[in-house]
Structure formats: structure tokens, C-alpha cells
Point group: C2
Chain length 427, copies 2
């Protein structure tokens, strides 16, 4: 039986979850995988955290060089998060030929090219299943399960915090601020929630997933990004009446690998779409492949044990496969030349504005839409306040820039009080 | 670049789908996988079928020995279906050291042990992703994606034909026989539909999936099986009122690998369960792992291209991984001794019977349930026909044998006209 020594860098939520899984499944992996996995070293300044879970004192270190030079360590698990010092530690491990398993989406999204170059030099393994969508094996699926397909689109709910907040806003009719506070108190949102609620976390993951799915580098800066901080309970309620659910979607589209579209923003999803039922902190990725058709993977996007499941899956995979696979594209810092990133993307739109109930105002609005070649699928007037009449319309598919221009013109009309929301309608 | 020669045995729906995918993606696989995959040989008596799709005449053969002895053939794809001659052909390929990729669930379910033994002797690869749930990479996920987990349960909608029939019965209020006829005319059901509608196909797949998920042999004969031929539109309608959808479920449960439960039967699923939204010919598998929690994979369970996607995925996997993995358990014809297969399983139950509206009949029914320790969650009388009063009740969780005994006793009561349906309520 093969012995596999693991070092865990960082003993926070995910690090300790990973440790528990490895500790509690040692016999199981001996029996089912024919490997004996032991945690040989833990890098953690707060020794007590590790001692409390039963790590032997001699295996706890605060010195990265000591951890990496330990000859019993074959695989280094990085679960520190953030760019530094995680980047330096991972590079050091790769330089010494150790296989690295990481859950660090920010590091991976920003420095994948550098890490992969280092790994290639020593033929070290580099695994990152846990960086995207927690326990859902979406990366393995893209690499080893759907690789026969040209993936044409990918639509994900890939941030648990925002999905939890939106689900509660929808269920309770509460507003963003009060639900966020509650989510923070319950540990579903961080004290500084920006990475989640502003869509950065989803954008990191989309950059990684789209690169894998489309076989070309999709750098973070090509991802269009809007968070959920401006989402109003009013729109969620109107959407519900119209048959839609609000989700923070990460969308990637691929036209033959030459024209790529990547965006993260709130969107309405039809209630009968499989993504509409993805609630609370659950995540899902909905893919379309040219042969397989529609595929969806659903599960827990975060948490100590789900993310630990992905990390340990990578550890076992690395220990039981002798071939190392790297990216299937030229993995540089920038996108390959020749790849066009679409910013004027196509979508349907929900637009809400408030108008004074005067003769001719709707005709003018309709005229503006006509001018930009936007055709209206539905128009609903809400309430009866003649000075503040909410009007909602849903367009047929059109393009982003036309909508932006039309909305600006509508906002400038004499009897339009305000343009309140523009929400894309997808799926 | 590595050259990979493929032989396709059988050029029916899946065989020709596989051929098309390989033909149309040759450049794509050269670019993304660094392999050059060509179809070197097609075994098919009806040569015209292969000629029509552009297979060169010299590559079409009706002689298995010729195909297997072709030195350009590295991987043999078996898509004939059924046990013989598929079994002999696959064994011959494995004996000569060729890697085999198959979509043949019946063969695999019944002869996996024999095929694996043959493969081990020559260290040949043996892949079967396409045998279960079409394009959904459930087998790769069990082997390489969720292998860190003890999988405790698996609930699947894994037969497209029956899901299509049940979906249409639900939507249209039609009866089984008329929808089946229509499904046959549309090609969703075969002329002899028994394998699908009697649950055999689902049972084959459940045997394979449960063996992988639970790391122990789950032979076909341990799978409890009921088909959908007795499902009544009346029960689907009553279920709808109560918040349930009817599905043919394949259920596997695992208590520490020592106590296994495997069953295929129609069941009611709560409308808000992710499996309830799996409609038409879509399939899904819902898994629970001890670390990852709930995971669902959803997609097309059949069809030329989805199944072809799984086959080509196996071909690429075999060509790009040098390690061969076999079953993680003792792969014999029979189950390992010491594993207990539960037949008196636990579930909730929907029971419909017809009674005469006489004083005391419900008291007697209630008394019988009490005697068998079955507690009733809900009881509904339907209609007002005093001589034929439909009564529906839903139990709390109880066990199968108690329900069978209670139902027999109720059927024998003086004022009970008939016990019409007993449907398990899951999820």
C-alpha cells in the first residue's frame, strides 16, 4: 500500500475540515483506494487550534521551509486564502517538486500561469477542485467528464453567500441590508462582505471555470461584474409575479473559442428552470455541450466539509494517478491574442421606471425602444399613483449597449421620474 | 502527438453517434487533448449504415477477429447491447490487451466480474461511463470526484423512457397505455418496452452505480424492482393535489457498507425536491456523501450524442491516463459474504383504497394500522359515493413488510371494496 504524507497550510475552517476528513477516513481510504494518507505537518501560527483537533504537537509548525522540506510530505494542501503569503508558499512547494492542492480561487485566478509554470518545471501536480463550487466536482467534470464536448455555455450560481441572501429576501420579502446583517450574525456572510456581495468571488471562479470549459485563458479583468448590493425587494416581488426568481448568475458563453462572453450579475431566471430551485447556500453549474446537451451539477458551494471533500478528492486523485495534467491552453497572464471578449452581450431585460401618468409618456418610451431596435415583450403598469406610476417592461432579446442607451434617454424624458432598475433576464 | 485508433462494434444509434462525434471533433481533440483519434474499424453487418456516414469501405468489417487483430486499433468501443455476442467480443478484445469502452449496462451489470478479470490479466482498460445515465458523468464522479466520501445514499431518475411517460401522464392527465403508444411512435419507447417500463434498465444501472458508490458488489438480483405499468393517472392527480410528483426512482442506501438497500419502483417525490423538476427524458442522480452533503447531477440519460459524449469521454480518458483502475471491491459474481441486503426497507406510504361509507369502517382501518405500529400522517376522503368512497392516507415512515401485512388485512375488511394503490413516498 502506498503511503501519502500531507501537509496542511492554514488551519482555519477549511483546513480543519480537511484534517477531520483525512483523520476519520484513514481506514476507508486504505480499503477503497489502497493508499494510507496521513497528515504529516500542519502550518499554523495558532497551535492551539490544531492541538484541539488532536494534531500531535511535533507535527505543528509555523515555519514553511520546515514543512516543505519534510521528506514525509508528498502533497501540500494550501487553504490559507488570499494572494500572499499563499502564493510564495505554493511556489516554494512546487519548486521542491511537491504536488499542491489548493482551494484558493483568488490566488488561482490571478496567478494560475505562474503556478502552472512552476509546476511544469518540476513535473509537480497542481490541483484546484476546491477553488470552485465547494464540494461539487465541477473541475474534474470539465477536465475528465465532459472533455469530449465543445462547451458552448456555462451558467452558474457559484457564490453561496449571495444565494443565501437572495433566497431569504425572496422568501421573507426582506430588504438587502437586514438580511445581510442576519447572514453575518449566522456566519453565512463575512464581516467585510465585499468579496461575496460585490461579485468578486463569483468572478474569480468564473474566470477559472470559463478558462477550463472554453480551452482558452479567460483573465479576471475580462469578466463583467455587478454585485447584489443594489438589488431591491420590490423587484424580487415584481419578478415573482411575472414568474421569475432573482439569482446572482455567473455566465460564460463560447462561440468556437474565438468569441467569449463572461459576466457576473443579478438576473431573473424563469421559475421552471433547474437553476431557479437552487436555494440557500446551495450552488449549481448549468452547462451546455455540443454533444451532451444540457448538464447540471448541484451541491454545497462552501463549508468546511464540502470544501474539504473537494480537497481530499484532489489528494486521492493525485495519489492514485501517475499522470499530471495541466491546462489545455496557453496559460499566460493575458488572454491569447485573437480571442475576442464580448462586452455588448445579448440578453432579455426587465426594466422598471417611474413615470407621471400623462398622455403620451408611454408613446415616447416606446419610440425610444423602437429607435434602438428593442422589442418589448410585456409591459405592466403597477398601482394608480398618477404622479409616481411604476412601469415594468420586459424586452425580447436585444443587446446590452442598446439597452443602456435607451435607458439613459428614457431617464431624461420630461414625465419620467426615475429609471429604477435594469435586470437581465436569463434562462 | 499520440495516435489513438478506435474500433466501433455496432453501428446503431449510439455507434453512429459516437462516430459522428469522433469525426467532427478530430481537430478539437488534437488541440485540446493532444491526441489524434481516428476510427480505424467499424464492425457492422449492415455496411450501408456506415457508408452513409462516410466510413471508408475498407474500414467496415463483419468479422470480429479481423477488427480486434487490427494493429491500428487501440480502443474497442462496444455499443451492440445485450449479452451475446457483445460479451464474447468484449472478452476477445480484452484478451488481446485492447482497452474496452462500453455503453452496455445489461452486459456490465451481469458480467462485470468476468470482464474485469479478463482486463486485469492483460492490464487492459475497461470503461463504462456510457452504461449509466447517458451523458451525465456519474461514474467518473463516483470514482474520481466524490471518492473522499462515504456515500450513504443515491436516488436516481435513471431511465429516460419511463420519465418521459410519467411526465406526459402528469402534464396531460393521460393514462399509461395511450402515452406509451405515443412514446413508441415518437421513438422514446421501444416496440417491446419491457426493459424500460418494467424497471429492468433502471435495475441494471442501479446495480452498477450502487456497487461503485458503496464499494461492494451489489448484484442485480438484490435489486427490488417494480415498473410503471400499474401506475394510474388517478394517483398522479391525487398526488399532485397533495404536493407530490410521480417518478420511477432507483434508490440505494448504504449503512457502513455492511447493510445495503437497493430498489427500483414508482414513488412520490415532494414538488420542491430537486428531483421533482427532472422532466421528460432528462435523468438525474441525487447523492449524499458524509462530507460533501447533497450533490445532484442532471442531464440527458440517453440519445445518440449524449451517450456518444460519455463514450468519447472514456476514449479520451483512456488515451490520456496511463493508469488503469478497476473496481474498489472484490468483484465476483455474487455479493461479498457479510453484506446484508435489506428487503424490509423503510419509507413513507401513500395508500388508496375504496370503501363503503359505513359506520366503523375507518375505525377498523385505523385499528389495523395501529396493530402494525404504522402511524398515519394524513387521511383524505374523496367524493361522496357512499358505496365507492375513495380514501387516501399517507403514513409516517414505517417499514415495508408492516405495510404489506396491513394492506392485506384492510383488503379483507367487510366494507372495504378494494385496495387500489400503495405508493412509496420518498424525498
Amino acid at each position: 500500500m502506498k503511503s501519502v504524507g500531507v501537509a496542511i497550510l492554514g488551519f482555519g475552517v477549511v483546513g480543519s475540515g480537511t484534517y477531520k476528513i483525512l483523520r476519520d477516513h484513514r481506514e476507508f481510504y486504505r480499503r477503497t483506494q489502497n493508499i494510507d494518507v496521513t497528515v504529516e505537518s500542519v502550518l499554523e501560527i495558532n497551535r492551539q487550534k490544531a492541538l484541539d483537533l488532536g494534531v500531535e504537537e511535533s507535527r505543528i509548525s509555523d515555519n514553511i521551509a520546515e514543512v516543505i522540506s519534510n521528506p514525509n510530505v508528498d502533497i501540500v494542501v494550501e487553504v490559507i486564502g488570499g494572494v500572499e503569503p499563499a502564493r510564495s508558499f505554493v511556489l516554494a512547494a512546487l519548486h521542491s517538486g511537491k504536488t499542491v492542492v489548493t482551494s484558493n480561487k483568488e490566488l488561482f485566478c490571478k496567478h494560475w500561469h505562474e503556478l502552472e509554470a512552476a509546476a511544469r518545471r518540476t513535473n509537480a501536480g497542481l490541483y484546484f477542485e476546491a477553488s470552485c463550487v465547494g464540494g461539487v466536482p465541477i473541475i474534474r467534470t470539465l477536465i475528465d467528464g465532459l472533455q469530449a464536448n465543445v462547451v458552448t455555455s456555462l451558467t452558474g450560481i457559484i457564490n453561496g453567500t449571495t444565494n443565501y441572501i437572495l433566497t431569504r429576501m425572496t422568501r421573507e420579502g426582506s430588504d438587502y441590508r437586514s438580511v445581510l446583517k442576519d447572514a453575518q450574525a449566522l456566519g453565512y456572510a463575512e464581516a467585510n462582505p465585499a468579496a461575496d456581495v460585490e461579485g468578486y468571488d463569483a468572478a474569480y471562479k468564473l474566470s477559472i471555470l470559463a478558462s477550463l470549459a472554453f480551452h482558452t485563458k479567460v483573465p479576471l479583468e475580462t469578466v463583467y461584474r455587478e454585485g447584489i448590493t443594489e438589488v431591491s425587494g420590490q423587484d424580487i416581488a415584481y419578478g415573482d409575479e411575472l414568474g421569475y426568481v432573482m439569482k446572482l448568475l455567473a455566465i460564460g458563453k463560447n462561440d468556437g473559442g474565438k468569441s467569449i462572453e463572461v459576466r457576473v450579475h443579478p438576473a431573473f431566471v424563469r421559475k421552471d428552470h433547474p437553476l431557479a430551485a437552487v436555494s440557500d447556500s446551495f450552488n449549481a453549474v448549468y452547462l451546455q455541450g455540443d454533444s451532451v446537451g444540457d448538464v447540471m451539477l448541484y451541491g454545497r458551494g462552501a463549508g468546511a466539509l464540502p470544501t474539504g471533500s473537494a480537497i481530499v478528492s484532489d489528494v486521492i486523485y493525485a495519489a492514485t494517478h501517475s499522470d499530471v495534467k495541466y491546462a489545455t491552453f496557453k496559460n499566460e497572464e493575458k488572454a491569447e491574442s485573437g480571442v475576442k471578449f464580448v462586452t455588448n452581450f445579448r440578453s432579455r431585460y426587465y426594466i422598471r421606471f417611474t413615470a407621471k401618468d400623462r398622455a403620451g409618456v408611454l408613446a415616447k418610451v416606446a419610440g425610444i425602444f423602437a429607435k434602438y431596435n428593442i422589442s418589448i415583450a410585456e409591459l405592466i403598469q403597477k398601482g394608480e399613483d398618477a404622479e409616481n406610476l411604476p412601469i415594468i417592461l420586459i424586452t425580447h432579446e436585444t443587446n446590452e449597449f442598446s439597452v443602456r442607451s435607451a435607458v439613459e434617454k428614457i431617464g431624461a424624458l420630461e414625465n419620467v421620474v426615475s429609471v429604477d432598475s435594469v435586470i437581465r433576464v436569463e434562462g
